[in-house]
Amino acid sequence: MSTVIKVENLGKQYRLGQVGTGTITNDFNRWYHKVRGKEDPYLKIGETNDRTIKGNSDLVWALKDINFEVKQGEAIGIIGRNGAGKSTLLKILSRVTGPSVGDIKVKGRIAALLEVGTGFHPELTGRENIFLNGAILGMTKQEIKRKFDEIVDFSGVERYIDTPVKRYSSGMYVRLAFAVAAHLESEILIVDEVLAVGDAEFQKKCLGKMGDVSKGEGRTVLFVSHNLQAISAFCQKGIILDSGKLHSINEVGVSIQTYMDLMKDFRFNANTSKKDRVNRTSGNASFQKLGCFKDGLINESNWTYKADEDIHFAFSCITNEVCEGLTFYMAFLDTLTEKVITNVKTNITTNQIKTGTIVEFKICIPKGNLRAGQYDLYFAIGNTNTTLFYDVIDSNINIPSLLIIPTSDDPHQNIGYFNTTYSVYEKNV
């Protein structure tokens, strides 16, 4: 497949602080260098864009040394923390602003969806706004006319179509706006985090539409989102941006896992002092090593499984003192709400264990028991009888969260199932 987007040495510099009299001296200096045919002096001194630390320079690189290629029909998710440069990259791609250095070469028409409802005029009716918004996004009047019914149908606000949009509820407004954008025809579609709008029903519709665009219609899609599940569902590849730099491009599952590791600076390590960890208690026993058990090895960094795989975790603990039995606790938490979804308690042994014993065990969760998604994990070992744990490992502090990626051919995709037993009662008439 041919390359449709080629980004070369792309960089974008921003000036922090306010525009004021200080800026004009910079501008003069820049202009003076330019007349003498010299390079812009300010492009050299910019700093890496890390919003959390105080810098020495007013100039920061929102993006620097970005190089990548996109092949036709690929759906690429762009992930990164706030301020990593995702939106800046999309803005440059959609020509809203220009790069400071480097260039982007593009084949085909680009439609960018950085916001829904751009250019909506509150006084105009829904109908008038469909045309106006469509034209702003680059459609011709004929194109919009052809798709008009489809747009109205998708939006589900037919009854209000001849009412000024200022009378709309905010949900209806967004529905109409997204409906227009969803019907753009272009070879390349750039979507910023705009799908998180509307009610649940409409969100589902939007996500479905996105799926059609990227899979069914074979268009090239660049998609920025913090919704990692949506990214893993639509995209084949993931680009990670970190502080304005390209961290990595990989197959989407790997990218997401890498990203989640990045987000959690802490990594479980038996050598680190237990006192450093918020939740790690210095008890009679402690975890030494834990991870996903894949291909006969304990993998400590990659916590990703496909939905059609059995999940294996492996643990290794050491007793620091004599323990009266050992019990393992495991909980799955929702990453957003931090509520426990399910938990497990297993007695490993009730016998006394001597000091310095290494206990190794594995746990298997058969496929289908957990629906696809992201889970925070919570592991603990403790005494059988008390709730005082010897050691605790928590997704938020020591290890990445677990990610289960949906597989398209899995019949239990996204649903999961229980092992239920049931019996039939005979009914006497």
Binding site: K6, Y14, R15, V19, T23, I24, D27, K91, I92, L93, S94, R95, V96, T97, G98, P99, S100, V101, G102, D103, I104, K105, V106, K107, G108, R109, I110, A112, L114, E115, T118, G119, H121, E123, L124, E128, F131, L132, A135, I136, L137, G138, M139, T140, K141, P164
Partner: protein, 287 residues
Amino acid sequence: MRIPEPENEHWDLIIKPKNKWYQLDLGALWAYRDLLLLLVRRDFVSVYKQTILGPLWFFIQPIITSLTFTFIFGSIAKISTDGIPGILFYMAGITLWTYFADCLNKTSNTFIANAGVFGKVYFPRLIIPLSVLVSNLIKLGIQLLIFICIWIYFLIYSNQVTPHWQLMWMLPVLIFMMAGLGFGFGILISSLTTKYRDLTFLIGFGVQLLMYGSSVVIPVSSMNGNVKFLMLLNPLTSIIEAFKYIFLGSGFFDVYWLIYGFGFMLILIFFSVIIFNKVEKSFMDTV
């Protein structure tokens, strides 16, 4: 043997740090013509929504202004109207002047007023100021209509008005020049104010002052010497005077001053489009 570089591929679009000064994509402008028309429609429809009189306001505005001018400048200050009935004289000036002032005022904040849209979606930025010219043209059309009604009344019932019929064809040219000047100054100011807003303060009263220097109120005939020359240096003066000359029969008509005005307009548009083009690429970072 040299292997041909694979770089010679065809790319539809290359996004680079800076536009070349001559890189004006007229094709893209044409592709977005539907947007221009829809913007014009939006401007027209949205202005008088939720008003009872609706588009009637287009009529009321110039009539009241002309009456005020007739009263203040004609009756109180007794400024010469070249022997033309006051209402007609002022209306002639105001009609054309309003078009220029509206174009200038509305295009001069193109970047600032549309930053929200410009920051989210790309389309040729010149579409916005061009749509302003067209939507104001509709307003001008309506106001010309009122002017012509009053003009016909005086044509029939008074002998003070002696139009130069053979020059009537020049009207579109005069309107075009007005549009060009308003557009040129407007986008120049909008380009210059993206980073430093100082000029925006000037524009508010600058346009007001310019009106008095453009023979809307004070005809060129009542000036002489250097003042007259200075007034004619302002290309608007000869356009408004020519308009009055053609319709009312009095006024200053000089082909060379008109050619000067036309040349002025062309050069202005040339430079302001270049600057606009240069600014549009990265104005989002500074606006």
